[in-house]
Symmetry: C2
């Protein structure tokens, strides 16, 4: 079996983390880099990631996160946020990023800018927000696969109050909004969830070949 | 550098596939298994994956997909779909899946069923649909990471007419809807996109540590 499949079978949504085991700086850097490199539609990267290390902040987030213990107990805790509004200013920032990275004049990217503004405009304001939210779930998938492949445990969590999170983390005034969160670290030896069989539909239930 | 980061730097949204290079059966099985094993909220797996092998179907999909050549030219082509309605029947199917997998009586899962129905109900009909769409983007992220780690090229694509896709693939009557598609195979030696520098924001632009 490939290493990746082994990793995907090994991983599970960790319920109880070992509070004494911490990610090394190298491990944290690797996980962050997997988020940074994640694919997104048009490569627009309409996201921002908040690594919350402050203990008091994590306590507040736990309160706004249905008291889920992973928020405070895991080695690290990352909130995956998106731009609240996906608009021409985001496109402009991206076009400048393309010009700088590829060392080409920004004036040569008029076609790209127009195409992106057209594509974003077609979605409408709410549609573009939801589209941004979907993109950050790609990054979540890449992060979870990367963590598993490195033997790092993770608990992705959607259960929290985004408005409270945005206030606690100061995201509102930055035009960002919390979408999903991930606790990262190492499973406790007595996490009861570790030994529960992974529940997945059989191949024939989720695949059609035609 | 870790193998995964090398893979994530190697990958890119392939524009031109080598039409003569095909995935082996083992490679296809591995990619499918990564989708099947993908995490989702509550483990609900509100998705279905359509592997389109039929040449004529792929031509029709290309027409409904803005004539993007990857749809017909890549070795394999997968449409990631979700349940159109996320409701009590989906929860019931999942609860039965849990009971069977873990060899426990379904009667013991009343609490789980109630919790899931409550969580899904809180989202509202449209909210639950969008939530399902987000979940399949986790699977997309896992698939793209897995493909890269195996040296398999991929082109994730959002540009298509979902209504036309649903009709062509017969998804409508199955209660499914197309969300995103992925062409898989191997880059052509003359794909002009291969040598373009990957555009990503610098770490400090997409991360905040607090």
């Amino acid at each position: 079996m490939s290493d990746m499949l082994k990793a995907l079978k090994w991983r599970y949504a960790t319920k109880k983390f070992d509070t004494t085991k911490k990610l090394s700086e190298e491990q944290l850097a690797l996980l962050k880099e997997s988020l940074r490199l994640s694919p997104s539609s048009f490569g627009l990267q309409p996201w921002h990631f908040i690594v919350v290390e402050d203990v008091e902040l994590r306590k507040k987030l736990r309160t706004a996160g249905y008291d889920q213990p992973q928020i405070t107990d895991a080695s690290h805790f990352i909130v995956l946020a998106t731009e609240k509004n996906v608009d021409a200013s985001l496109v402009e920032k991206f076009v400048e990023n393309v010009a700088t990275t590829r060392n080409i004049p920004v004036e040569s990217l008029t076609g790209l800018r127009d195409m992106l503004n057209g594509a974003v405009g077609m979605k409408g304001e709410e549609g573009a927000r939801e589209w941004a939210a979907r993109q950050v779930y790609i990054a979540l998938g890449v992060l979870l696969a990367t963590a598993a492949s490195e033997g790092i445990d993770a608990a992705p969590m959607e259960g929290f109050d985004p408005e409270q999170f945005d206030v606690i983390l100061g995201l509102t005034e930055r035009g960002l909004t919390s979408r999903v969160m991930v606790a990262l670290g190492f499973r406790a030896s007595d996490d009861p969830a570790t030994d529960m069989a992974k529940v997945r539909y059989a191949e024939e239930q989720v695949f059609t070949t035609m």
